[in-house]
């Protein structure tokens, strides 16, 4: 599990790194403005934060490729699959611990009726996996980190907007509402509503299953062995 351990060492190098990793989610957890949904705005926005956090975490894999570390790893007695899996496991673990903190703050501040802890944590964790997959798939398309990173912000924001994370999906025309179902952010927003209103528009577990399918598809796209 050398690679697994090394991901932690790289990601949590110093106190500042840990602080920067925790700051945005904790701030988000304290944004208590109410909007069209009866949960604080911060929790609705948390999906966007998760996407950006995962892109920041997955940057290490991109750097490995750019600095030719992956070339040396491929010469080592370790398979590409193992390298990928250990990385993904480490990222998921880091994001899940952040999710626990955020949901914990939510429950302490707003109560377990407003923030159902288990369902919320489940949704956040599955969406973390999806956003990690999305980031890996996105990075797999580019050669340089900078190019990938500069377009990524716009992409994530527009995905969040189209997916209905910033405003209610109902205000968009029917046809667009159907088409945007191709985005994982739509399913996250839907899942959020299903967590809040039990029984809203289908089953929460179906939504979580779809998000998992999204993450599998993204990870498979991103796991293409690219050395150069």
């Amino acid at each position: 599990m050398t690679i697994f351990n090394f991901v932690f060492k790289r990601t949590l190098k110093g106190k500042f790194d840990i602080f920067m990793l925790l700051l945005p989610p904790i701030i988000t957890a304290f944004i208590s403005v109410e909007t069209w949904l009866p949960i604080p705005l911060g929790f609705q926005m948390y999906g966007v934060i998760l996407m950006f956090l995962s892109s920041k975490l997955c940057k290490t894999m991109m750097e490995d490729r750019e600095k030719k570390v992956i070339l040396r790893i491929s010469a080592a007695p370790i398979t590409h699959l193992r390298y990928l899996m250990e990385n993904l496991l480490a990222y998921t673990l880091i994001l899940s611990s952040i999710n626990i903190i955020v949901v914990g703050i939510g429950v302490l501040r707003y109560g377990s009726v407003t923030i159902p802890p288990l369902n919320m944590f489940l949704l956040f964790s599955v969406f973390s996996a999806t956003s990690i997959g999305l980031s890996i798939a996105w990075y797999a398309l580019f050669k340089h980190t900078e190019t990938a990173y500069s377009i990524l912000g716009g992409l994530y924001i527009s995905m969040a907007m189209l997916g209905g994370m910033f405003w209610p999906i109902e205000i968009m025309p029917q046809i667009i509402r159907r088409i945007v179902q191709i985005l994982p952010t739509y399913w996250f927003a839907l899942g959020m509503r299903q967590v809040v209103y039990t029984g809203y528009d289908g089953n929460l577990f179906m939504t979580i299953g779809i998000l998992l399918l999204f993450s599998v598809a993204f990870i498979m796209v991103g796991s293409r062995k690219r050395l150069g």
């Binding site: 159907r178 179906m206 939504t207 299953g209 779809i210 399918l213 999204f214 598809a217 498979m220």
Partner: protein, 385 residues
């Protein structure tokens, strides 16, 4: 070559494009009809199977699982039975149609089959067939171009080998000629001169009795000195001319002696003087290659090498035991000799032997776990027909 490569790649692009279009069509169908979450599961599932296919091309299990997945979903929701055209397409593409039947049972059992769906299924299968033909053709040409490339590569290598061999042969011819001259000087001139020296020495012992003039004695001494000097110079010349490297059969013996891992018996029959110098090179290479192969591929305890030189041909054979082959392979062969997957070394030897008009054979003898390499070379003009 670049153009051919592009053409090969473009087929894969078309194949993936067909898959992508089918997913997009499915998505648009789903958007226009109901938009249920199950449809999204179907689309994502088909997408995942398409990506999986890039990693494991042509796997029957993927076709089977995709069929079951789509069939199972259409059992739950009959409206999407049309999506089964994708597993049908993949099944026909890989010629693994049996694997799509289980899923098809689900579809026909519950799915709303109508004329349009049957038409789409047939179209999917037909498209799969057409693309399979194209794929097979591509694979055929790819293999053919690979073989062609290998041949060209080998020919280039052989050419290089011959060029370097020519230099070696020139050097060897020179050495052989020097050896011959030295031998002849030693055998003919040397013996004559030694005889002359001995005669002069005998004469010297009786010269006092002849009462010769002093200048006559001086003349005799000078002549004797000259003959002595000539004998010394000749001895030195012969010594210097004689090549230090071993030639011909001695060369082979040297290799055998150096090879101390396994005991080798080298037997030589016939007059090896008749063997042209360039043949020795081939035999030397063959012996070295054979011994290297023995070390690499066999668990040998006994190696026999034999060289027969007759009036018209030369036959070199190298035989070893302990060849590791699977018993079932040995039994399935009706022929006594197994076909061998020849490497570069053996192929190069074969070509060189052919170029000298000879015959080369290298084979595993199935029943006896033995490997035998035989080279037959002609000792007359024209080669062995």
């Amino acid at each position: 070559m670049e153009k051919i490569k592009q053409k090969y790649d473009s087929l894969s692009v078309y194949l993936n494009l067909t898959r992508a279009i089918s997913i997009v069509l499915l998505f648009s169908y789903w958007v226009r009809t109901s938009g249920e979450a199950l449809g999204m599961v179907l689309i994502l599932g088909i997408l995942i199977f398409s990506i999986l296919r890039q990693y494991l091309p042509g796997e029957s299990i993927i076709i089977f699982l995709e069929g079951l997945f789509v069939g199972g979903l259409s059992y739950l929701w009959p409206d999407i039975s049309i999506a089964y055209c994708i597993p049908i397409f993949e099944g026909y593409l890989e010629k693994k149609t049996a694997w799509i039947i289980p899923g098809l049972i689900f579809v026909t059992f519950r799915g709303s089959i109508n004329f349009i769906i049957i038409f789409v299924f047939i179209a999917g299968g037909f498209l799969g067939c057409i693309l399979r033909v194209a794929k097979n053709e591509r694979d055929y040409y790819k293999e053919e171009s690979d073989i062609e490339r290998r041949r060209r590569y080998e020919a280039e290598n052989l050419n290089k080998e011959f060029l370097s061999l020519r230099e070696e042969v020139f050097q060897m011819v020179e050495l052989a000629e020097r050896n011959r001259i030295a031998q002849q000087l030693h055998d003919d001139v040397g013996h004559e001169l030694t005889g002359a020296v001995l005669g002069l020495q005998a004469f010297e012992s009786i010269i006092e009795e002849l009462e010769l003039e002093s200048y006559e004695k001086e003349l005799f001494q000078k002549a004797k000195q000259r003959v002595d000097n000539s004998a010394t110079v000749l001895r030195q010349t012969v010594h210097n001319m004689k090549p230090y490297v071993s030639l011909g059969v001695e060369d082979l013996r040297g290799i055998v002696e150096e090879f101390c891992d396994i005991p080798i018996s080298l037997k030589v029959f016939g007059n090896t003087e008749k063997v042209p110098i360039h043949y020795w090179f081939l035999l030397k290479t063959a012996l070295k290659e054979g011994l290297t192969n023995i070390i690499r591929h066999a668990n040998t305890t006994n190696v026999k090498a034999q060289l027969d030189v007759t009036q018209n041909i030369l036959r070199f054979s190298l035989e070893n035991d302990g060849v590791i082959i699977a018993k079932n392979i040995a039994n399935t062969y009706v022929n006594k000799y197994l076909d061998l997957n020849e490497g570069m070394g053996l192929r190069s030897l074969r070509q060189r032997t052919k170029s000298y008009g000879g015959n080369f054979s290298a084979a595993i003898i199935a029943g006896e776990d033995k490997f035998r390499l035989i080279i037959v070379l002609p000792l007359f003009e024209g080669g062995i027909s």
